[in-house]
């Protein structure tokens, strides 16, 4: 295995026997004002018939630019190919004229984008948007086009294809929209499909379904698949070969088994290590459950959005959009009972729409619960007025999901952190001194207090967000998906920081996440939510070993690359595919 150097010092490894796409020495230039000269620097890749090549990298690695440059979808002239070849069945696309490129796009090479909601025209029916491809590339009649579209919908297993043909994008679920995008890419049976993070915006269970579907369709049609992702779990799930990119350069390239089990380049190793393990953590120093008293007690908490349907019920049944929309009442939190012990870390796990964020917002007073009770160390918080909440604010604090949107861009970091303490009665000077200490505590320099949020990276901003939450010395810290907006390698650092702080400061942590791996990494207890209800709760180890509820089992089974991860990656493993 070691006689072939995979770290990109020597020539590229021998490609597949039947290459569809060959990229040779491809370089893409960035505009003059960018922080580096080349977005893609001398990258060479090959994808063969029926093969899946995963290109892995963090944000800014140039992976998406590389993928778009194949179809020449770059915003020229700001980004342009300056060197290299893109050979599709031997024809160099880098030299093709516009007319030829239009024939290639959609016909020979199709693309699936990350966010299906914004990738579809909101004002055009789904059927029309797919038929367009056939209009451009074939001379089929209307009826024939329609037949093909419906057949493709059946191929990607979309329910009720005749309805979807006439539907608008907003009338479908996220998973259905991504199936539509896949159907769109398959409709002319292209030689190559480029998928740019096609599952990143989807829920775990939906992601698993879409990945299975892609793999199955690819095998059936023998299409080559170039799959862009940042997630090594997904790589383990579907890749035949892997290419790792950093700062526009290819740092490692090889068969999936080799790369996953025996990464050559330190960067690849760091990325793989950063993927949170599915193995539940053990806490030798965790406080014993029997001695701790509950700090947060929730009983029968309910929150309903919207109001009951005003129209007749038969109308809502006929047109589901009415029932689902603003008119229908949605029980976001449905009779939740929860006890959280002092000093524990509890993960609230669920998919989008499970009510996990709403529950957290009710607990911190950003939403008013409709019914039930919630006690923070004996103090009732349901039904409190704004002024009634104020003394309790220092008990419970929140770290928000998006570090880019949750810090005021016009306020200095020091003021952002100190303000909470000042509102709680601290003198400004003391609060600022404390802010400096907090910045050091979260791993930043004290002089960061003088700067503005935009001068920091995503991970650093999330550290500032954590320092801000800690400024009022809370007992309970609610973290709402604090790492989902961050790159993988940064995720791990922030998670470790939270874990470390919790122990040093004796915090109780409520950790909201959709990712069971993240939950396993930092929490010793897990609460699984679905449709506003708790379907299962217990210790992380117990739930992972023996999930009781069917939904929990489904969530666990959906984690991409679970086989690879549960083996424990540091042990020597021969082959994983």
């Amino acid at each position: 295995m070691t006689e072939l150097p995979r770290a990109m010092t020597g020539p590229a490894p021998a490609g597949p026997a039947d290459p569809v796409l060959q990229i040779r020495d491809l370089s893409v230039a960035l505009p003059a004002w960018a922080d580096r000269r080349l977005a893609v620097n001398a990258v060479s890749l090959t994808v063969g018939r029926g093969e899946t090549l995963c290109v892995v990298g963090e944000s800014g690695s140039g992976k998406s630019v590389m993928a778009r440059s194949i179809l020449r979808l770059l915003p020229e002239p700001h980004l342009r190919i300056v060197n290299g070849q893109v050979l599709l069945d031997g024809e160099d696309l880098a030299l093709a004229d516009d007319r030829r490129m239009r024939q290639i796009r959609g016909g020979r090479i199709a693309m699936v984008f990350q966010e299906p909601m914004v990738s579809l025209n909101p004002l055009m029916t789904i059927g029309r948007q797919i038929e367009e491809i056939l209009e451009v590339h074939t001379d089929w009649g209307k009826a024939e086009r329609r037949r093909r579209v419906v057949a493709t919908f059946e191929d990607v297993r979309l329910p009720n294809p005749d309805f979807i043909v006439g539907a608008y994008p907003h009338e479908l679920s996220g998973g259905q929209r991504q199936r539509v995008m896949i159907a769109m890419s398959l409709v002319l049976e292209p030689r190559l499909i480029i998928a740019d993070e096609p599952t990143t915006a989807l829920d775990v269970t939906t992601e698993a379904q879409v990945l299975t579907l892609l793999k199955e369709l690819q095998q059936r049609h023998g299409t080559a698949l170039l799959f862009i992702t940042h997630n090594f779990g997904v790589v383990a799930e579907i890749a035949d070969r892997v290419a790792v990119m950093r700062s526009g350069e290819l740092v490692e390239y090889g068969a999936v088994g080799d790369v996953l089990t025996n990464p050559q380049h330190p960067y690849t190793r760091a990325l793989i290590d950063a993927v949170p393990s599915l193995v539940p953590r053990r806490h030798p120093d965790a406080p014993a459950g029997s001695t701790a008293e509950p700090i947060l007690t929730v009983r029968g908490l309910e929150k309903t959005y919207g109001r009951p349907s005003a129209g007749p019920a038969w109308l809502a049944r006929l047109v589901p959009a009415i029932g689902k929309g603003g008119r229908g009442a949605v029980k976001a939190v449905d009779h939740v009972d929860l006890d959280i012990m002092r000093g524990s870390a509890v993960a609230l796990v669920g998919e989008s729409g499970s009510g996990k964020s709403t529950l957290a917002r009710c607990l911190i007073g950003l939403e008013a619960a409709d019914a039930g009770s919630a006690l923070i160390a004996g103090d009732q918080i349901v039904g409190l007025s704004r002024s009634g909440w104020r003394p309790l604010r220092s008990r419970i604090q929140m770290v928000f999901q998006d570090p880019f949107a949750s810090l005021n861009p016009r306020t200095r970091v020091g003021d952002i952190i100190a303000r909470g303490a000042v509102l709680q009665g601290e003198t400004p000077a003391a609060a600022m001194a404390q802010a400096h200490d907090l910045l050091k505590l979260v791993g930043l320099e004290a002089k960061a207090a003088e700067r503005f949020p935009h001068e920091f990276s995503g991970g650093q901003r999330q550290r500032i967000g954590i320092a801000r939450a800690l400024a009022v010395k809370p007992d309970i810290l609610i973290a709402d998906e604090p790492v989902s907006a961050l790159d993988v390698s940064v995720q791990k650092q922030v998670l470790d920081l939270l874990d470390d702080l919790r122990r040093r400061l004796g915090l109780t942590m409520l950790f909201i996440t959709h990712d069971l791996r993240v939950a396993a990494h930092v929490c010793e207890q897990i609460v699984v939510l679905k449709g506003g209800r708790i379907v299962e709760q217990g210790s992380t180890a117990a739930i992972f070993a023996d999930p009781q509820h069917e939904y929990t089992r489904m969530l666990l089974a959906s984690v991409p690359g679970r086989d690879w991860q549960s083996r424990g990656r540091n042990d020597p493993v021969d082959r994983v595919t």
């Binding site: 451009v136 959009a321 603003g326």
Partner: protein, 330 residues
């Protein structure tokens, strides 16, 4: 199904408009009470002075001697039966006066809307397609100049150049009253008179919609769905026409709906400059004559007009954007 819900939506909106319009009437009535003087003093003043008893007599005749709230109540009661009162100044019922002046104003507003929205959309698209070419620069610079120029000045300059110097268009009025044109000749004559006022009134809005359309087309062309369309193999032209245009129209429609009210205000200036016999000019005259009945009538009609246009805009919006659900009455 959708059609039925649309009709219900329109009826609901019309019902909701009733309190809005009544509120406008009450507010206008009370505001006008704040203006110094009334019709009686103005009439007396124009007659070169009159004894106090005569003014009192006039007031009694006009009903101006009653307490304000009683006057308001009477007025509201009359309005419910579409009786807008009597203009003592013009010696004829207000409703008739207004209806006579309504259609010239509607004609001017309609022509202006068509020119400014239609032209703005067209110019905006042309500028956006050729972004950073001479076409874009020409349109953008012209739009800024048109945007910054005051209405009345444009009107006066147009008259000066095209009517007085070049003698291409008439200086004022809506038709040649001494020519007694009939049929098509009259239509042509009115259209000829319409050109300058329309240009004057639309120039500002034309510039506004051009800039808005250019910006939204550029924004939408960068949207992900446009990239998807490009990845499907569509030509740039097809992408703009089929995908971008409709999405880019939505903000323009919203803006146009909001500005119909402002258009009515702008027409006061234009109608005065060009002696266009419309509502704006009538409002201007009645204000100085303290002919409050007439003024209130004009306000009432304007409010109705704005409400109706807003409903029309909402309906257009629903037709353009399938994401908007009609029927949810929130």
């Amino acid at each position: 199904m959708r059609g039925m819900r649309l009709v219900r939506f329109i009826l609901t909106r019309l019902l909701q408009a009733v309190p809005v319009v009544l509120g406008v009437v009450v507010l206008n009535f009370l505001l006008l009470q704040l203006a110094p003087g009334d019709a009686a003093t103005v009439l007396a003043g124009e007659a070169g002075g009159a004894p106090a008893e005569y003014i009192e007599q006039l007031r009694a005749r006009f009903g101006l001697d009653k307490p304000v709230l009683v006057q308001l109540g009477l007025y509201l009661k009359n309005i419910l039966f579409l009786d807008l009162g009597f203009s003592f100044r013009n010696n004829s019922p207000v409703l008739g006066l207004i209806l006579d002046r309504l259609w010239p104003t509607l004609l001017l507003m309609g022509a202006t809307l068509v020119i400014s929205v239609g032209g703005g959309v067209l110019l905006g698209v042309v500028a956006a397609i050729g972004v950073r070419t001479w076409r874009d620069h020409l349109i953008s610079v012209a739009a800024v100049i048109a945007y910054a120029t005051p209405l009345f000045w444009v009107g006066l300059m147009l008259i000066l150049v095209f009517s007085i110097r070049l003698d291409w268009f008439p200086t004022s009025g809506m038709e040649d009253v001494v020519a007694f044109h009939e049929g098509w000749a009259r239509v042509v004559d009115i259209a000829h008179h319409l050109v300058l006022p329309t240009i004057t009134l639309s120039l500002f809005y034309l510039a506004l919609y051009t800039r808005l359309m250019r910006a939204t087309v550029l924004e939408q062309r960068g949207a992900e769905y446009a990239t998807t369309a490009r990845a499907k193999g569509l030509t740039e032209r097809a992408i703009t026409m089929r995908h971008v245009l409709r999405n880019a129209l939505l903000p323009v429609v919203t803006m146009a709906g909001v500005q119909v009210g402002a258009l009515l205000g702008g027409s006061v200036v234009v109608e005065t400059v060009f002696a266009w016999p419309g509502l704006g000019q009538l409002a201007f005259q009645s204000l100085f004559a303290r002919d409050f009945n007439l003024l209130l009538g004009i306000f009432f009609l304007s409010a109705c007009l704005v409400v109706i246009v807003n409903i029309v805009v909402d309906v257009i919006y629903v037709l353009l954007d399938p994401r908007i659900r009609v029927g949810s009455s929130t």
